[in-house]
């Protein structure tokens, strides 16, 4: 991607991506923005609805899985599609709090449905001074 926030990698059946950031918060934020891109491409989503997300994990991978899964649940149950992450904070005990804004999906053309986040080839790690996540989602 142009701004280096994330990139898609080849995968036969599903969608694989890496996201980047200078700290875990940023890599989590960019991972969530990939989900948005999968659903609605680069369309601008209005910031009409505010949601608070809470997630926890045993390690960074399960925290990322649980965090991203919240967006699938919001999409399926309330038709919520993300515009922007306002605040995100990850505590040392792997508890995450985020404030996100977005709009109802019915106001946009949705291209794809994401069935699940998977642990397949998943990692979250620090490489040199950069944080990287890798995720395969089942579509």
């Amino acid at each position: 991607m142009k701004n280096g926030k994330f990139k898609f990698l080849p995968h036969t059946a599903d969608i694989k991506f890496q996201a980047y950031g200078k700290n875990p918060e940023e890599v989590f934020e960019n991972s969530a923005l990939v989900l948005k891109k999968i659903l609605v491409e680069d369309k601008k989503i209005r910031k009409k609805i505010k949601k608070n997300i809470i997630a926890k994990g045993e390690d960074y991978e399960s925290l990322l899985y649980n965090f991203l899964e919240e967006f699938l649940i919001l999409f399926d149950s309330e038709g919520f599609v993300l515009s922007e992450i306002k605040n995100i904070n990850i505590q040392e005990d792997l508890k995450l709090k985020a404030e996100v804004v977005g709009d109802r999906a019915e106001n946009y053309q949705v291209n794809e449905h994401i069935k699940a986040i998977t642990y397949n080839e998943m990692f979250v790690k620090k490489e040199n001074s950069k944080w990287i996540s890798q995720v395969v989602v089942d579509v």
Binding site: F8, P10, H11, T12, A13, D14, I15, L39, E41, E58, S62, E69, L72, I73, F75, D76, S77, G79, V81, R104, A105, E106, Y108, Q109, V110, N111, E112, H113, K115, A116, I117, T118, Y119, N120, M122, V136, D138, V139
Partner: protein, 471 residues
């Protein structure tokens, strides 16, 4: 990888290291060349290491890389020593196919394709971010999760024959709605009667060719007859059930010793194993009910378009499921837990699990093609019971990634090419059309040829599309 060709269309991955049994791949040389390009054979090996696995870790001709277990994979486990795994079923629990027979012929459709496709597209939503017009209370949903297609027929959405002509009689026994999380319910409650996206579709097709006249007659199929295929699954509810139980099993058993985190499992007889089965059965029943509601709406819409139309369910088969079935193990009949992930049950004559109407012929096996290509009706065989725990392929199997497809194909062009072939299509977006280009799948003809030659299911009829609705 060490791969031994045993005979035509049969390959063995010899037992080595932690493998408890050998791997078996039922595919042609041509398909094997493609299969070797991804990690699916490695996944066949990994499955062979799971406790209580019986006979072989099996992969069929439509194999491709999945999560934990390969897609196009079959594995059966001993009830005492064995495991049950959400990864062996997949995230789209009971992703499945139902075929409806009509009394229309191809020429009835030809002049009205556009009208039909528009009408069905409006009537049957993909449900992406919008939900469904089918409303149900929380309490009724619990009954639906336990009663499947039978429950919705009793509510007025169809006729008794519909669920009788569905695998497991339209609902899997042992479903317990209390084992499904509120999050899963939240994801699914507004999605009944929706197709979803990806490879799911609703297709008006015609019988292009009959290969076995006698069996086609028993199935009620004749040349040029119009049939309607519904391909969808358990939507968000099933995906969340899979995800919930993967997490629960990780918490309880850990994944450090597993070659792949997605192979997480629980002993069949453990509480968690039993709970997963009960929840999975609910998701499977949700999928049966989903297709029953869609069937009802298809009937309504088609009756509006063709006053004297009659629509009957030929059959409805599961593609992603775990089941308790009796199979011959070391010469003795034994109940085992069969996982079919991207595979279809293919029982031959006399099995009591199949509807009475098909007990003399063997069960109908429904293989959806990819958008714009042929689909097949096959018949189950005794040979499948010998070789593959009564299983056969479920489709063509992807060979090209979605991003690869988007780089190569354009939705608008695909629509035009299909129109030139006489196929009318309406999809949620150009993008979803490009991603499902017929060229990203293995050749369905080759896949069907292999299972027919092996005898694990036999060709009965080929179906070709006339009108396609995609999520």
């Amino acid at each position: 990888m060490n791969l031994k060709k045993i005979s035509e269309n049969v390959y063995e991955i010899p037992k080595k290291g932690k493998m408890l049994v050998s791997g078996r791949v039922y595919a042609s040389e041509k398909i094997m060349k493609i299969v070797k390009q991804d990690k699916s054979l490695e996944q066949v090996k990994n499955v062979a290491c799971l406790p209580g696995i019986l006979k072989n870790s099996i992969a069929l001709a439509d194999i491709h890389q999945g999560y934990g277990f390969p897609i196009g994979g079959v594995a059966a486990f001993d009830l005492d020593k064995g495991i049950i795994s959400p990864g062996g079923v997949g995230y789209d629990i009971n992703c499945s196919v139902r075929l409806l027979k009509t009394n229309l012929t191809k020429k009835d459709i030809l002049k009205n394709q556009k009208k039909i496709v528009e009408a069905l597209y409006r009537k049957i939503p993909s449900g992406l971010g919008r939900g469904s017009k089918f409303k149900i209370t929380r309490q009724e949903l619990n009954k639906l999760l336990e009663g499947g297609a039978k429950y919705v027929v009793e509510k007025g959405y169809g006729v008794t024959e519909d669920y009788l002509h569905t695998e497991e009689g339209g609902f899997i026994n042992g479903a317990d709605a209390s084992k499904v999380s509120e999050r899963a319910v939240k994801r699914g409650i507004g999605q009944l009667g929706t197709l979803g996206a990806g490879n799911h579709f609703l297709e008006v097709q015609y019988v292009d060719e009959i290969f076995d006249k006698k069996i086609a007659e028993a199935f009620g199929l004749r040349k040029d007859q119009v049939v309607i295929m519904i391909h969808c699954g358990s939507r968000g509810l099933g995906h969340q059930v899979a995800s919930d139980y993967i997490k629960k099993m990780e918490e309880k058993y850990g994944f450090k010793d597993l070659p792949d985190r997605e192979l997480i499992n629980a002993p069949i007889k453990s509480q968690l194993g039993k709970d997963y089965f009960s929840a999975m059965a609910c998701a499977a029943n949700f999928a049966f009910a989903n297709k029953q509601i869609i069937t009802h709406w298809v009937r309504e819409e088609m009756k509006y378009l063709f006053q004297n139309v009659r629509i009957d369910v030929l059959y409805d088969v599961c593609h992603n499921i775990a089941k308790f079935e009796k199979h011959i193990i070391n010469g003795k009949k034994k109940e085992v837990c069969v996982h079919r992930k991207g595979a279809t049950r293919s029982f031959g004559p006399e099995r009591e699990e199949i509807p009475e109407a098909y007990r003399k012929t063997g069960q109908p096996v429904l293989i959806p093609g990819t958008m714009g290509t042929a689909s097949y009706v096959l018949v189950g065989t005794k040979k499948a019971e010998e070789l593959t725990f009564g299983s056969t392929v479920h489709g063509a199997g992807r060979v090209m990634s979605r991003s690869g497809a988007l780089g190569k194909f354009r939705g608008e062009k695909i629509k035009k090419e299909l129109a030139e072939k006489g196929i009318e299509i309406k999809a949620g977006s150009w993008k979803s059309l490009a991603e499902e280009s017929p060229k990203v799948y293995k050749d369905i003809e080759e896949v069907v040829k292999v299972v027919d030659e092996l005898g694990i299911s036999k060709k009965v009829a080929r179906l070709k599309p006339l009108a396609v609705v995609k999520g």
